[in-house]
Symmetry: D2
Subunit: 139 residues, 4 copies
């Protein structure tokens, strides 16, 4: 099931063209991802440590400064042994899809930084957000 | 031919893990790309306007705070009709490959923002930086 | 009257010490200031152009990553002929005052970039937020 | 003696007005300060931990995107018992003074985070950079 996270765009995210900078979009995705995995969960930050292994993004439309937080769609397209794929759709202020993206995270042992298996409890919780992977036009 | 651009890492690029934040890496790539296409070219900024259509990155190792600018390798893997693919390899402070990435840029008419054909002059200049595309382990 | 603007801290605002970076605090202040002067006001962005002339900040406590947006207090301590002073108090997650700051903005003509007088309508609207200037311990 | 640190401006430092964002200037100052206190010094990062207590800045001119790193002047105006004042002058691309600033740093014990006295060795080394404090027009 896809969920929607309202992510405020900051004035400092804009570049000299008046659009959200390409790298700043990844910061918006990061905030959406944090809301999905960590926010509102006691001790989540200390128990769930991850490493980002891969990211892909397709920019369809420039994102101008919005009056309201952008409602970013975020969901999980795959849960592997020690990794998961997170997908996103970012609308612009008009509500059109401005970017599609996918992040592969690896669950790691916070003490050692090495990959560790996703627990059954995590798997069950994350399964709630499973949906088909985002489709890119170019790949 | 691949070229190398020394890109300074800033203290503010680090996250709470003491590593360069995943989104900040795209800012480093942006600086390498700007050096390739724009720096040292008179009127380059006004004549060459681009839109980023797609980006892909693979993070292999965390990037700790380096004493010196990171020597980012940057080259062009494809020159199309109105787009080009830029590839990068980002080392960490020890000189190991920490990230590989690819950006697809579209050349646009600065007045209208619509795609426009790459000129013969641009094609000839960029051909100097052609090399095989970066290979990702996962895709 | 002081008002309170909830400003979300981003993961990327943290530095390698796990605290909000000193420069990122100014971005949080910027968001609080924008909420006071621009948000929710039709055409505000095109009618009210400002230049920042001066800023002062006192950091009292480090700001760790909060679970909730930081409730930043913001008010106006002075309305001059073509400038205004904006004051802020930034709490940390525990609710203690972590930073106090003041920004002097100059109202400018957006077409020319030169200072212009604050209008009677602006003066009346901003007067609602007048309160005593923030007091710094060191100056 | 004032020293000069060349600090590259990044494209992402610009805001929608095409000028370096007010908060990004503090990141440029941070890089100049790091160059003064830490760069090129073995073990400096682990031995010299500081906390920023206060900052003040005066913006005189907007800073447009420069072709070259900005030669930021940086010096020390005061060395106290457990604190020091660092001053800066930031030129714009034309070489005019665009900003003046001052940062008060407190030396802390990295293990405890509490202030600790500046050592004789630090005092001797920093004395090389002593010069009169920056003068602000408004205060």
């Amino acid at each position: 099931m896809k969920t929607t996270v309202p992510v405020p765009v900051r004035w400092a995210d804009l570049d000299a063209y008046g659009h959200v900078n390409n790298a700043a979009v990844f910061t918006l995705l990061e905030e959406a991802r944090i809301a999905l995995f960590w926010r509102g969960r006691e001790d989540a930050a200390t128990q769930l440590a991850t490493f980002i292994a891969h990211q892909e993004i397709e920019y369809l439309l420039p994102i101008s400064y919005p009056d309201e937080p952008l409602p970013i769609s975020v969901w999980i397209s795959k849960i592997g042994g020690a990794s998961a794929e997170v997908c996103y759709e970012v609308p612009n202020a008009a509500g059109d899809v401005a970017a599609r993206a996918r992040t592969t995270i690896v669950t790691v042992n916070p003490a050692t930084g090495t990959p560790r298996r996703i627990t059954d409890e995590e798997r069950a919780r994350w399964a709630e957000y499973l949906a088909d992977p985002v489709q890119f036009r170019r790949h």
